[in-house]
Structures are given as structure tokens and as C-alpha cells.
Symmetry: C2
Amino acid sequence: MVALPSGVLGALDSTSDRAVFRQIADQLREAIDKGRFKEGAKLPSESELVEHYGVSRMTVRNALSVLQGEGLVHSEHGKGVFVRPRPPVRRLASDRFARRHREQGKSAFTVEAEAAGSRPEVDSLEVKEERPTQDVSARLGGPRRVLARRRRYLLDGRPVEFAASFLPLDLARNTPIAQPNPGPGGIYARLEELGHRLDHFEEEIRARMPSPAEIRTLRLASGVPVIHLIRTAFDTEGRPVEVCDTVMAADAYVLAYQLPAT
Amino acid sequence: MVALPSGVLGALDSTSDRAVFRQIADQLREAIDKGRFKEGAKLPSESELVEHYGVSRMTVRNALSVLQGEGLVHSEHGKGVFVRPRPPVRRLASDRFARRHREQGKSAFTVEAEAAGSRPEVDSLEVKEERPTQDVSARLGGPRRVLARRRRYLLDGRPVEFAASFLPLDLARNTPIAQPNPGPGGIYARLEELGHRLDHFEEEIRARMPSPAEIRTLRLASGVPVIHLIRTAFDTEGRPVEVCDTVMAADAYVLAYQLPAT
DNA sequence: CCCCCCTACTCGTATAGACGAGTGGCTGAG
DNA sequence: CTCAGCCACTCGTCTATACGAGTAGGGGGG
């Protein structure tokens, strides 16, 4: 039992009607915000906090779970509770699907990651035909069956994004799009080669807390929301040719859009 | 102590190495997902769950706090724990700043809300001159002082969004922009009247858990992230003329963008 | 010198109990 | 019949204790 670093944490206000565990959480949060605990630094252990505040361990754990829910700290069994480092963010520009970017052989993800000095990976590649969900079917104009392409993206070994593309079967079957690796420029380049000249994309963005499955797939820490992006690609005839459903770890991304003012 | 509705919740698997509170959370989550507890419905009380599973109350509370952190349920002191209803979402189209929308007298928020049958409100209106944060200053090209316009938006009495606009002082001082109500079409219409013809907007989107202040301002339930949007408006000379920092309750919004494929 | 094991420390899970405070329905007095 | 007050039920907070399991470091044996 080592004494706490002096002066970092104050005392409780017993006259306050604010719950004790909230007061403790407040003090820890303030100390983190002010940099008295730096990114990645270890907080005092639960038993040290019990000692310092003179409360029971459950109260301390309650306070820590508040901070964990806010995404400020994460705990490691057997080691301690640490201030969550802000991971480097990956920035998605709205022109990343511009035609000129489809020339080179690599995928947008690979190019952007390497430009940022990170090691990109793609796994969980799955390509199969299936019945679409009601939502996907509606967005694609009601096909009974679709080609689904699922993959997970990782940066430096950390999963950051899970995406599923859906294309009408009549359009994708027996084409390079149905191959695990569709070739340079990705499926958008193949679609254009097949005569479906792309006209525009529609993107819908939501943010929410992850499902248990998403927590597993993206290895999300608690307190990290996901960004849910649904993109629909339209060809020049106004036909929807692809729906891409993407779930991203929110702490790894900034989305950037440029809009005309006209 | 009333018996549980039969068959809704199963038994624990004592051979599993999954923690008991997680198993309970799993069963409740599944029951909610499958609609056996509907939106707004009351879950069994803590003591009923204690009875049903034969565990201590803290274990049950632990399970419930998992679901609360996921945003699936919310508790009401003295009443019970309820399945969180999905609130109606407000859809923000990417053309909502198009020039043609600036003709009518009402603000975009008011028009859209009334079209959706909701009662819009704006409060916490504050207009003042101040020193910008480093980030805002950098985005605006480095002014020492800015005009800040802060306001909160509510739908049917529920706060959904808190926004702060920042404009360089030399541009906004002693203009209608410095008035609490800048007039029909909002500050973008005034900017154009002042000769700053708008060219394009840049938007950055992040998602994260709210700070305690944001929880208060937006009266957020636990397990609801926020969408943080930073928009910069540029005039035809390429000068940034406004930065708008917006924090939205994520469960109230879907952002929609349309992107050209060129 | 190296490696294994023990130990002390960490957090994870769970029990049992206590009191407080908000809610809503029932009951008895008026 | 009305209404005030009681009471049972709800969740909120806190204490005290126990054991399990992951981690890291030191010490002792090979």
C-alpha cells in the first residue's frame, strides 16, 4: 500500500448531496483532463483509492466504471486502470471515391493507411450470394438475392472497420466482382467496366453504442461508440448498384465532407 | 413479489465460464431484441430477477448496468427499468445549406421540424465577442477575437443539439449577424448580403461519448453517444468566414450526404 | 546463468445486508 | 366522495467480505 502522489486528488465533500462515487469520478476526471494523469498513465489502484478516500471498494469501482463508460479509462486485469490514449485517427475524405483515385492498383484503404505510415490489413474476406435484409433490398430496388462482400480492415493490427457490400445478383454474378480480390480500383472500377458508369453516392451516418458482436469484431474498449455508415452507389441511369454497410470504431475515424454552397 | 411472465427468461448455465451477470444481461438483451419486451415496456424489477435467477441484487444490478451502458434500457427511480424507446430521428440532408433554402424567413431547423410534425424551440441564445480557442482560430485563419453565437435546439421539449458559430470580428461586428436574431435565412443569408458569397462548406464528423456538461445540456440518457460536427464555411475567395461547432444527441439524428462520383 | 515457482499486487465477480429516496396505490378519516 | 397519509414497491447508494484469476518481479533451485 503506497501513499498517493501528493495533491493530485482532493477530499470528499460530505456536505454535498452528490453521491460519493460521483465525487470520486469527478476528481479523477478532472485530474485526467488537466493532465495530472497523462495518456496511458496508470491511475491509483482500487485499494489505494479505498485508502485515500476512506470508502469501500465497491464505491471506488463504481466511480471507475463511470469513467470507463465515458471512454476515459480502461482497465487491465492484473495490471491496473489506465488513462485511454487517444488513438491516431483515420480521416475519410469525401472525395475518396472520385474516379481519379480508382486508377492506381491499390484500394483506397491501403493507399490512405500507407500514406499515414500505418500498416493496413484486410481480413475476414467473405464473398457469397444471399438473401438481402429488408433494408438492403429496399435500397437496391428490391432484388431477391444479392452478392455480399464482407471484410474487416485493420491498422497496425487493430481492427477499425467492418464493411459489407451488397450488389444485385444480376449485375455481379460471374464477374470479377464475385472474386475475393476484384482487381485494381476495387469493385467500383469493375462496375464501370461492366457499363455501369457511376453517377453519385448517398451516404447515411448514424452513431450509436456497439452491439456485443461489434464489440468482438472490432475489439472495442468500453465507452467507444461506433459510426454506422450506409452508402448507396447510383449509376448514371439512376439505378442503385451497390449498398455498402460500414461499422467503424468511432475513436479511429474522422469523416470529412466537402459540400458546395450552391 | 410476483412471479415472472413464464418462459421469457431462461436459466443460468453454471457450466459456462461466462460471468453470471453477463449471462443475465445476454438473456435480457435477447428478450428485448426479439420483442418479448417492447419499447417502453418495464423489465422485471431487480428483486424479481434476484428471485428468478437466485443471485444477489448486486449481480442483477451489474447486468442491468451493462444494458444501460449499451443504451438499451433506462431506469427510473421508484418506478422500474424500462426498454428505451427509439426516439424519432431528425435527418440532416447535405443540401440543407443550399442557397435556394435560404429564401424563406424561417430557419432550416424550424422548417424541417415543422415539416416532420415536431414542435421546434431554440434557447440558450448567446451572442458575444470572445477570444477563440486555438482550434477555431486556426480554422478561421488566425483571428484574435471572434463573434460567437451559441444556441440550443429542442424538439418537442427535448434538447437535441447544441451549436456554436464563430465568425471573424472584422466581418461580423456591427452587422445583423451580431444580433440575437439575424433575420430571414440566418447568418449565411446575411453573409452573402455583406458581399461574402459562399462557395463551399467543409464538415468534419466525429462520434464519441458525451462529457458531463454535454450530458446536462442535452439531457442525455446513459449509453447515448454524441455526434460532433465541425463545419467551416468558405467564401468564393477561399476565405473561411464561419466555423460552426455542433454537438448532437446521436439517437436523434441521421446525417445524409450526397456525393458526386466524378 | 537460466528458468521455474512463489508471492504480492492488480482487477473481476459475487454475496449479504443496510438505509435512503421516489412513486403510486390503498385506506381510513373527514 | 375527497383527500391526506401510510405503505409497499421501486431503484440508488454504500459497506464489508470473500474468492478467483491475471501479472510481474524476486528468489531459489537446477
